[in-house]
Symmetry: D2
Subunit: 256 residues, 4 copies
């Protein structure tokens, strides 16, 4: 048992587009401490971004840029072989767009978290991981980097002097290599009933049990709860309650 007494809870928010909505943004903002706001490339139109930023600012929730490939049709879940310089520019564009709404709400963008296939790509893809870091350094070196522990993204971010924040997933299965079991494979998802215990384990023990049984170290300062399931708010609330019951405070990792 370590002395972890506090953890962040983050969720992907604002993942609708136009007529379509997906996440219960208001409900989740009452539970999490960090909001990963979609920036328009995989989801998130300007009105949604504006609303989520306003709600987050009201509640003092940290706003992160959930940057992604330009792929509305694929919801950013398909790898795209974007060249380094193009990805730098794509990320800058999304950061700036979100900042406009964060500033309008009286706050600022505090961190960056890649979405979907980009999230998975930068675990290993050197050029795309470097592009994310380059974009953040160019934009604002005060931004934190949120991602998978052990990813190239966090390693390069730390090397560049950014604060690199590892996160654990309370609702996703892990491989022995500490990566997520792909969504289309058995064991990809963890049942809602098992998520609170997993959250406490991730937060306190800083490890997770892989689908194949191994104890996998997971140095995390944040836990991701997903927002696009029907019972997302209830699940997230249960996770938060379990953490509190275990004596672990829930606080944003980023200064707001």
């Amino acid at each position: 048992m370590t002395d972890v007494t506090s953890i962040d809870l983050n969720a992907d928010l604002g993942e609708g587009f136009g007529r379509w909505s997906l996440t219960d943004d208001a409900g989740l903002l009452d539970v999490v401490t960090s909001a990963n706001v979609a920036c328009g490339f995989h989801a998130g139109d300007p009105r949604i971004m504006q609303r989520v930023c306003a709600m987050a600012a009201e509640r003092g929730i940290a706003i992160g840029a959930q940057v992604s490939y330009r792929d509305l049709a694929g919801f950013g879940r398909r790898f795209i072989d974007v060249a380094h310089d193009d990805l730098v520019a794509d990320v800058l564009y999304q950061l700036g767009a979100l900042e406009a709404f964060a500033r309008a709400a009286g706050t600022r963008v505090a961190y960056v978290k890649p979405h979907g296939a980009l999230y998975n790509a930068v675990v290993h893809h050197e050029a795309q991981a470097a592009a994310l870091v380059a974009a953040v350094l160019t934009y604002d070196g005060q931004l934190d980097a949120l991602g998978l522990p052990g990813s190239r993204w966090l390693a390069l971010a730390a090397q560049a002097g950014l604060r690199a924040v590892g996160e654990g997933f309370v609702d996703r299965g892990y491989t022995a290599a500490a990566t997520l079991v792909p969504r289309d494979q058995p064991g990809a998802f963890v049942a809602a009933a098992d998520q609170p215990a997993r959250a406490v384990q991730l937060a306190r023990e800083q490890h997770v049990i892989a689908l194949t049984g191994e104890v996998v170290p997971t140095p995390v300062e944040s836990l991701c709860v997903h927002g696009d399931s029907p019972n997302a708010v209830a699940s997230a609330s249960a996770v938060r309650a379990a953490l509190r019951a275990a004596g672990i405070a829930v606080n944003a990792f980023a200064a707001t």
Copy 2:
């Protein structure tokens, strides 16, 4: 004859997208003093925005956000009945995105100019003109407003305390109502050979001769030269030379 001794020259730049280019951005940036940079909604991908901002900053050219309807297929030239609040958010999104590149280049967005059908709409359309102003006020009240003299956009901007800058078009025909002859009508365009004289007239006399012969007052602090014709740079250079020959200095209206 008035005592106008200085005028700004602006051009629409960065109006390519991906594989497609349209404007000789480098060439025009050697001639104009203000660059209206497309922000991705009618043209302008992140790489292009990045490059144009970098080139403009190097040359000390003022950067303006050329905001538009979300309409790549129509190049922003088709009226879209966007609701007030949606338009506010669309403009904030574009402003923020461009700002990321302006800041990365060591400068800032200095003014806003609506593009295409939005430009024409806000001459009369109260709700859309008000949305532009609301977006600018929300974003940064230090931004200037560039548009058609007599437009609702400039009137509301001035009422709101923004600096409202009127512009004249050296290559477009005018109606007696001081609006532009639509692109699909005879007399819409002025031949390149006639543009230098028209520029001097607009700058010095602060009026223009309408297609129907009337002398139309045009209180302008800037002249727009178009960038999407084959001889755009040559035409703009001739305009600039004519202004200089007439003793009129060419300077940006906005502080950079």
Copy 3:
């Protein structure tokens, strides 16, 4: 009382996009006789179109092309001032795309219904109504035209020799001019409980009571039930049951 003994029931289907869904397509296809399938311009990605066409074909439901403005962000609900020739091409593109899926499912596109703002525009907008008709004639003169009774779209379609099919809305308020009360105005929507009676009235009496009390003639061969409300299937089923109870059969207007 007229001798109307049969009516069509149509619904807008396939109005999701990528990760987002909106309509209970399978549920509604068990109730309606005509499926207005979104073609990708306001909603409807290729997978969704494929699935809806396959399900419709299995059940012998007529497939119509729900053509629209190119406006995913606005869900096709914003007027766009598309030029005649551009709209012809936009409609041809959508018709052909949908036909690929209809043919793959062993059937064909049987009719055209404009969506959203285009639907409302072609009530009065001569050029856009003419563009729809021109596209249909160019594509396949055997297609039927579905729309608002009294619209220019149906009038021009009939003049051109197409079968023009009027529809009534069981869930929308009417003005005295037999147009729909706009979505953002009071009285725009009819409560679910009142829809069955309204359906029977529309079908049998061929009129509707306007929001302002007038009896408004509505020559309809089809009734539209909306699919994007939470209880859409239940509402549609209640409408269908009421029609049957009133001795009115429910059959597609188009041959499949």
Copy 4:
């Protein structure tokens, strides 16, 4: 020397979008015998598709569907990890859309050629190659398959009973493995002056000299001339003249 006495010339056409144009479609249609028409996913809006089909039909040029990933911003030149079933649907959508314009022009789509990154992917990518074949079989088994000799796409197409047509590139360097030297590497492009001789060699000898010196067999029934260079029409005309001078007729491979 073989007894090849006839070859097809194909070019990518209609690769503009909205305000942007890229290819001299009319000029190239006077030289080639097969037109690979962009279908809207990487380029090609409905008006452009309509015009190119009309011009091709007038001249009796065969129309092929140049299908691609959904990636306007990347011009279809970036690999996207599209799942098999999604790619089938994407291709069906594009085929149907193009067919609408081909039929309107009095002809039909005669063949399919993947574009850009998809072209390169299906050289080796089994699932995406199979998706292309599945889409063609679903749509119309009479369509021919055009692609790189030795590609999985052509192999699977032939296995499925489609006519598989290999093509050679007169303006691109080859590796010893008979694939194209990537665009961003030295030797990717062949100078215009060398293209006529290379065309004759490809057509008559059915081989090409790789960048590294090897003689690489290239069983081709068609030669691709690119349309997006400034002197595209002149280059293509020189190729055609050289073929004629060498006694090789230029004819479409597909029946129109």
